[in-house]
């Protein structure tokens, strides 16, 4: 499932049908009943309550339902029969938030066979998912798949798929126990055992993300990945965690050898679709989620044989890759596919950066972040000097966690310029 990043702050939502289909075989009463059941499908799983308000009710229902044609004063004009069918607006404070629009030029049906018009109940369940804060899902059995999939059966018996329930409950919690939760008969066969865990995996419970101390942190296609042991969390560009529960490394990164249970660093080369994961003196290259080729030695990137890395990142300013170990770093030229000469250099060039960072990542706005323990140091876009208020606790900013009670184990960066030391350096343009 995918979350839009916004939710309703109240648990009882009002709804009203503002306009009915103009030329549908469905009566107004049938449309009302279908809308009621479509909302109830979400309500029963979350405990959310939906209250219909009539024309005598408050002028602004939270979910205002309209059947409209063509351009109707929002950013999603309809296109006649077929094509786009409906849309809804995510929760929020704006008057249009939660409103749900159906294309009045569709042939809306109920109880017909697939292919004979478009099932209004199925589309309404989908759209109300958006109105409650869910985005589109790619899960095969999800009602939140973006494509119309035909009727979904009897509205009074309809139940959301597990993917949809989990998405909803991530936003609003679980509702009171429903008849669905109580087994009516013994299962015919025991459920299949869970898939085997990779060797060396810790047993439950899963690690606490609020502890910090991640093995690796990387910006991968706009999302920030936080790796810890054989687990990882994902933070969407909107700043929302995909889930507070971590995902398993080996379920996602297809082909990662089972013996690799810790990712020490990760990054994506600038303007490149590849994803590099580092563990020990080796790294693995992924295309999307699939492993490409065998493990490769870090020596390929210019590090001494047997060396490991604490952090790796691609700096957008020059497109080069930086590999950090302890208080030193190496630089790799992706364009020339060779290590830059004259490295390693001292990490103190990054003024205020902690030694042996857990990892370094570049955010979507171009700032560079060094992470260590439960804190981060921010370097503004193009700068090698940390923000004066660094370090800051990671939890509130990144992981939906409270600030840690203890301060960083490393001193705050000096605010004054460091004592000048003799150096053998030369300036290059843009550096």
């Amino acid at each position: 499932y995918a979350l839009s990043g916004s939710i309703w702050k109240k648990r009882t939502l009002t709804w009203r049908i503002h306009s009915f289909p103009r030329s549908s075989a469905l009566s107004q009463e049938t449309v009302r009943t279908l809308m009621h059941h479509a909302l109830a499908a979400w309500g029963i799983e979350s405990g959310l309550k939906f209250r219909e308000v009539g024309s005598q009710g408050p002028p602004e229902a939270d979910i205002l339902i309209d059947f409209v044609r063509a351009y109707h004063q929002d950013s999603y004009p309809f296109d006649g029969q077929g094509g786009t069918l409906a849309h809804a607006f995510f929760p929020g404070e704006h008057p249009i938030s939660g409103d749900t629009h159906f294309d009045d030029e569709e042939i809306w049906t109920f109880g017909s066979k697939d292919g004979e018009g478009t099932d209004l109940f199925a589309v309404a369940v989908h759209e109300f998912g958006h109105a409650l804060g869910l985005g589109h899902s790619s899960a095969p059995d999800s009602i939140m798949r973006p494509f119309y999939q035909g009727p979904v059966g009897e509205p009074t018996k309809y139940r959301l798929s597990q993917d949809d329930r989990e998405g909803l409950q991530q936003l609003y919690g679980k509702g009171p126990q429903t008849p669905y939760d109580k087994p009516t008969m013994k299962p015919l066969a025991p459920p299949p055992p869970p898939p085997a865990l990779p060797p060396g995996s810790p047993s439950l419970p899963v690690p606490d993300r609020c502890d910090g101390n991640f093995d690796a942190i990387a910006n991968i296609r706009g999302e920030t990945f936080f790796f810890k042991g054989p687990w990882f969390w994902r933070l969407q560009p909107s700043g929302q965690l995909v889930s507070p529960q971590p995902a398993r490394l080996h379920r996602f990164w297809e082909g990662l050898p089972p013996q690799v249970t810790v990712i020490q660093a990760a990054y994506t080369p600038h303007r490149d679709g590849r994803i590099l994961l580092f563990s020990g003196p080796q790294f693995w290259v992924f295309r999307d989620r699939q492993l490409e080729g065998d493990a490769r030695p870090l020596a390929e990137l210019g590090l001494p044989r047997g060396e490991q890395v604490d952090a790796a990142f691609s700096w957008p300013l020059n497109g080069k890759t930086y590999l950090v170990r302890g208080h030193r770093y190496w630089r790799y030229d992706e364009a020339a596919a060779r290590p830059d000469p004259g490295y390693p250099r001292d990490l103190s060039l990054w003024e205020g950066a902690p030694p042996s960072p857990d990892d370094v990542a570049v955010s979507n706005d171009g700032a560079t972040y060094f992470f260590k323990g439960a804190h981060y140091w921010r370097f503004p876009k193009g700068s090698v000097k940390a923000d004066p208020d660094s370090p800051q606790p990671m939890g509130p900013q990144w992981l939906d966690c409270p600030a840690p009670s203890a301060g960083p184990r490393y001193p705050r960066p000096p605010k004054a310029t460091l004592k000048p030391e003799p150096c053998n350096c030369h300036c290059e343009i843009n550096q």
Partner: protein, 89 residues
């Protein structure tokens, strides 16, 4: 594989942009989309739709793009945030 028809490429680009797989074009600059970026966007769309990830505007992919669907984008990225911000304003 045969080259897709220009009309299919045009429809594909429009569809991929509308549903969030490609960034919206910047009106301030005439921007060409690289074949690699287009292929990546098609692959993401194919993965989302449960199709074989060919990266090509093949007949199955084009047929999926013609299916009735919800108007909201599949990838909630910059385009949707801009749209929301405009709406709020």
């Amino acid at each position: 594989a045969p080259e897709p028809a220009a009309q299919d490429v045009s429809l594909g680009l429009d569809w991929l942009t509308r549903y969030g797989y490609l960034p919206p074009p910047d009106p301030a600059q005439a921007q060409l989309r690289s074949p690699e970026k287009l292929r990546d966007a098609i692959k993401v769309m194919q993965r989302f739709a449960g199709l074989p990830e060919t990266g090509l505007l093949d007949p199955v992919t084009m047929a999926t793009m013609h299916k009735p669907r919800c108007s909201l984008p599949d990838v909630l990225g910059v385009a949707e945030l801009v749209r929301r911000r405009r709406r709020r304003r």
